[in-house]
Symmetry: C2
Subunit: 458 residues, 2 copies
């Protein structure tokens, strides 16, 4: 690979945007464990999921076999609005680090939702529209998923009801306003509009909310409202399927320019970006065609991979959702109040959990001030102000590049830059004011959440 | 032009990024009037400008003759970070309007500063660095210019002191935080740190500030501090020179795909984006090689082209800057408090003023609720949430496209989408809440500002 051959920003042609999604499950020998009905503890059937999810999305959720799933034309049309996303050679960051490593990042933030979430939002809105639904409900934490879904629903002209975790609702009024501009109805969670919301408010006065709680509220409204279904922006198999566009484009760009990555790094909350980014590379690894180091990066204050348990657990606080086998800190886990940087979900994608369990990928946990150190250096050198979530991957990429500096190795590192931080300036303000703190939960602090994981013998 | 030949988003190759700026003054028969020394009323000499501006930038300011100015390598390097910017075919907007017109927009907002301002910021920071200066001072209104300059100064590791108009400083704390993340020092204007700031505060208790006032403060600090110069993000000839990259790329893309625009539309505050966008097209028009309708769009509440006077006036409220001949509402003019949408400068680029005076372009004024109507429709159809400033051009482009619907004409319209509105959600909130109002100043209201324009007989 010679530098001069590779443009600073690799933009594929429009006809190189994927026309199929890649389903990594088709290549997994050990399939992810099925979702369970929490009542019967039996694998959930299509019919049981119908009150909650859109029909076509359930099919995608359950399909472990189809490898390449055609992307409907109207979704491809929408993808053309903001895809292909660039694979950028981080020349200026490399120079600042004085590393022989070559660093590339796949930048998913140059759309109005500010993140990769749009890739799945548009697919989910499309299938809801196809099914003749009135609208969808969802939750949002940092706000990226809610924004993405609002945009997607505006495009297909269906309703969008968003339960926004209270702490974000209050800290990010402008995120809320973007959603409203796209026509969404945004409610602070826990709210007094749902049974579960009223219950959580009563039991935890002054709670700032959690994703698990907002999920419960959104599901309740979907199930109780005629013509609505619930949609989710991460964790689920279907989401990783849609997000595979990230990895397919990345791999196409690598192949086109002869870039052979040694290490692939992604931030991991529920796993949507990481899962999408690594899918085709993991496919090669699973088929024995190539090998890569794949690293999931999570917050030290919400360490589901590195300190969680691989077990069946509830996806939400209200226990209204199916159970999934995953690395989890317990469905009651809520990160400490000083945690600013997103990636706050208690569990992890079942697909990624299985892959991690099988030793096919690594995981590291990083502390938030070190994440903002990395994010700020990145902003100043590469000119893009990253989302705190994305900062986790940057941190790990920098750490690997610095190891290369020590060893003199010219490794090729690719990481996912999931989005921009324009709506996260409250957290940057804390960092700039030096009032940001770290929190690594003690074993005792984690014990309560872990103790809430049910015993399921399967 | 057949639709199938043209990609939805036209990305030029990296080697098609301009290597020279285009100086439209070289092709103007009637040159813009020179800047005057307010004391002597004689054209300002190089030496007189040196205490305020960087040497090389003064040369560019005064040079009416050199047509193509080479772009230094380090600036080209930086341009590669976020350029070429895409020229996007507004297919989805066309469909929503049901118009036979073809609409394209040059999108300058996909960089962290959120606007085209970076094109000139990086040039100005470069020349300050080359001159061995410690840093630069400036003002910012909506915040885009300040953000852009902060990024540019971080890249070249020089100081950046920003006076931010008080109303924006308070309404946009997150803009301020982005600048701080890039290492800038941000002060609310009018401040108590400068003589002129203290004077304005004393004379106008509770003032929310103005660009003219912030300029005065920034100039004062630059002149009084060793190793600092003042830089400005709009209005000046040098800025239009740097911004010509927008127009050159647009023209290259048009030529490459056989797009022959009938109408070119840009929002106009000080004229930086409009001037840059139209430069090479105006050049053809001046040389008699082609004809285009060129339309400047300004807020009805700050109507310098459509209701101002073509006369010498001060560039700033404190009258410390040189005088420029331009369309002006008077240097004391401050838009009414309900004006939310940027483009609030009392004057206009001398180049554009001369071109308008000579009948080479048109101007329209639009009201802010109609701007937000257009911006919201655009956001929902094209997926990009525009800056309110950019909304002005969108409004005019939609109006022209709707005229085409009436007449059945397939005109080709290009407009400049200067930036994104992520930091302007306060204004969108007003619009979403239907509390936004319009204000067209009466002749009496304008009279006070106009009366303050000095009599200069030249």
């Amino acid at each position: 690979m010679s530098k001069s051959d590779i443009p600073y920003k690799i933009y594929l042609e429009e006809n190189e945007i994927p026309t199929t999604w890649y389903n990594v499950r088709a290549d997994m020998k050990e399939k992810p464990a099925p979702l369970l009905n929490p009542g019967t503890l039996e694998p959930l059937k299509f019919e049981e999921m119908q009150p909650i999810f859109c029909d076509e999305l359930i099919k995608q959720e359950l399909d472990d076999d189809t490898r390449d799933v055609p992307i409907p034309d109207q979704i491809q049309d929408f993808y053309r609005m903001y895809r292909p996303s660039p694979l950028i050679h981080a020349e200026f960051l490399e120079k600042a680090l004085d590393t022989p490593a070559k660093i590339f990042y796949k930048f998913e933030g140059s759309n109005t939702s500010g993140s990769h979430k749009l890739n799945s939002a548009i697919a989910q809105a499309y299938y809801a529209k196809q099914q003749g639904l009135k609208g969808v409900t969802t939750e949002t934490g940092a706000g990226q998923w809610g924004t993405a879904l609002s945009m997607a629903c505006a495009f297909f002209d269906i309703d969008c009801k968003v339960f926004m975790v209270k702490v974000s609702y209050e800290q990010k009024p402008f995120r809320r306003e973007v959603m409203r501009t796209y026509g969404a109805e945004v409610t602070s969670s826990p709210s007094m509009d749902t049974e579960i919301g009223r219950k959580i408010n009563a039991e935890n006065p002054g709670t700032t909310g959690s994703l698990g709680c907002a999920i419960s509220e959104a599901v309740e409204v979907a199930v109780k409202s005629e013509g609505y279904r619930y949609v989710l922006g991460s964790v689920l198999n279907q989401v990783l399927l849609h997000q595979s566009v990230i990895g397919i484009e990345t791999k196409t760009a690598c192949d086109k320019y002869g870039i052979k990555p040694d290490i692939i790094i992604g931030s991991a909350g529920g796993g949507s970006n990481l899962g999408g980014l690594i899918s085709p590379f993991m496919g090669e690894k699973l088929r024995g065609e190539a090998d890569y180091r794949i690293i999931a990066v999570e917050p030290a204050s919400c360490p589901s991979f590195t300190r969680g348990k691989f077990a069946y657990d509830f996806a939400d606080l209200g226990m209204v959702c199916p159970m999934a086998k995953m690395y989890t800190l317990g469905h009651g886990f809520i990160p400490s109040a000083n945690h600013a940087g997103g990636l706050r979900y208690h569990g992890m994608s079942a697909i990624l959990s299985q892959l991690y369990h099988d030793g096919l990928m690594e995981a590291v946990a990083v502390e938030q001030t070190s994440v903002f150190d990395a994010a700020t250096l990145f902003a100043r050198t590469e000119g893009i102000l990253p989302a705190p979530e994305s900062g986790h991957a940057i941190r790990a990429a920098i750490d690997e590049a610095l190891k290369c500096k020590e060893s003199g190795e010219e490794k090729i590192i690719i990481f996912g830059l999931t989005g921009t931080g324009y709506f996260d300036m409250k957290a940057y303000e804390q960092y700039n004011d030096k009032t940001m703190t770290d929190h690594i939960p003690t074993d005792e602090e984690l014990a309560k959440g872990l103790a809430g994981i049910p015993e399921v013998n399967r």
